[in-house]
Symmetry: C2
Subunit: 300 residues, 2 copies
């Protein structure tokens, strides 16, 4: 049984990684003019790796509700674009000042800071270009709702707000409640949006999305606790990026506040709870179940 | 006659400036949590000045087609948010490295670079949050089209692409055609989107927008030539920002390529041509006509 579901996850990851890569390749051709460097930087960041957890979440939910694969992949490209833009800007010297991402030079190291700012801005905008295009969905209700969900999750009430809290965290002492709120915004909002966008594509009515939202909330928090554990215990080479930077900056994390053992226990509890929210579904939710387990068991 | 139309413009500017300021104030309350600094920076940049040319263009077109003022102001907030985000990022040390904007410290001088990156990102996203909100328009076709127009104009095929060309211009020698293309993207795309979004709100069919697009194209180019002239001849104090930076960096401009006299002549010719495109309209297009003249005659 474990083997079967692991194959479900391995297949799901492999398939979405190939589909997202092909879609970026198709949607971001490099123009033969002085803008070429911008598009090369966008492609470098968007096609340079990443597990594609957000597109997989989106596609897994969409598939449960019979959504056409191409639509799920397009919406996946949009949410991944927002994720990638946030990494480019996060890596900038004035933010986390990271030189490596997926084991390769970050965009500002490969080119320069101006190109990194613009490539991030362009991928951010590209997400909305993709979602607003009538090719995305013939139904303007669906297009407008996809955009509303993504924009709300990405902006000052979501991811960007969480990043601001993360900066403030360096000069403050946050308690567990504030760290939880920070992580819900910084990481959880976009993971929750992935699930929600799958439900929007599946035209699931709002009352039918409650269990999916509960699932998303739990895996979002579990994901961040797992990230903190990996940051605390992980291997820099396997991660392809610098680790233990939070501790160096004196920022509180789930691990610093709870200790590694209780944090690990908390993450596992959240995953069990997340899987519990899927009780009404049969085999068609196996990918979401395996994905929840993968989130806390991954090694990078 | 000149006095009457000048009053049309002066009133239009005064009214849109007040409306946009009030809308930002209402839509961007500062939360009582560690994200406060992000919202303060967004408000500082969005409410700190600016002529509001883009919202005025949008509202002027919308009003010609009987659009509700509140909807025009909301869409105006969205396009102004994109404009303001681009200024925040443009002013960063890695881009234009400007210390002053509207006569006040730029966001990264007032706070820091990280806050400026995030405030820009948040205003960028906020534009799409505003447009995707059902409060914007009850018609999802309108919401989706507004977003498509704005996203296309702001991203790598529009403004951000033009900014990349602008960076490349420092180390290349662009001819008049390439400088024209650069400016069409960097400045023209967002001005054209302002006009187009007014037409979208007015539900003007595509074939009925041709003359408006021609008007927008002409004033967009005239606007940039006027900017180059102001940069060449203007007063730093009146402008509230540093001038003559293009020449210092060896970038070609309309003035460097054409000379000031021919550039001025070209701008006036474009304004006449823009006004000519409005021949089918009566008095209701006076604001657009005056706005076209204002664009080349403004002193900052």
């Amino acid at each position: 049984m474990a083997e079967v579901t692991e194959t479900v996850l391995a297949d799901g990851l492999k398939r979405i990684q190939a589909d997202i890569l092909a879609a970026f390749d198709e949607l971001l051709p490099v123009p033969a003019d002085p803008r070429a460097q911008l598009f090369e930087a966008m492609r470098y960041a968007a096609m340079g790796g990443g597990k594609r957890v957000r597109p997989l979440l989106l596609a897994a939910v969409a598939e449960m509700y019979g959504v056409d694969r191409e639509a799920a992949v397009r919406a996946g490209v949009a949410i991944e674009s927002v994720h990638v833009y946030s990494l480019i800007h996060d890596d900038l010297p004035c933010m986390d000042n990271d030189d490596l991402r997926h084991g390769k030079p970050t965009v500002h190291k490969q080119w320069d800071e101006a190109t990194a700012v613009l490539a991030g801005d362009s991928l951010h905008c590209f997400a909305f270009e993709v979602l607003a295009d009538p090719v995305m969905s013939g139904d303007p209700f669906v297009r407008a709702e996809l955009i509303q969900v993504l924009a709300t999750a990405a902006g000052s009430h979501g991811m960007a707000g969480g990043q601001m809290m993360d900066i403030v965290a360096e000069s403050s002492t946050f308690d567990l409640q504030t760290v939880t709120r920070l992580q819900q915004l910084k990481t959880g909002a976009l993971l929750a949006a992935s699930v929600e966008m799958g439900a929007v594509l599946g035209k699931v009515p709002h009352e039918g999305r409650k269990h999916l939202r509960a699932y998303a909330r739990d895996i979002g928090l579990a994901f961040q606790i797992a990230d903190d554990l990996l940051d605390h215990e992980g291997d820099e080479e396997a991660a392809g990026k610098a680790l233990r930077k939070d501790a160096d900056k004196g920022k509180e994390t789930f691990v610093s506040l709870l200790g590694a053992d209780r944090a690990r226990e908390q993450a596992r509890m959240l995953v069990d709870q997340a899987i519990g929210h899927l009780a009404q579904h049969g085999k068609e939710a196996d990918l979401l179940r395996e994905l929840a387990r993968f989130i806390v068991e991954r090694s990078h």
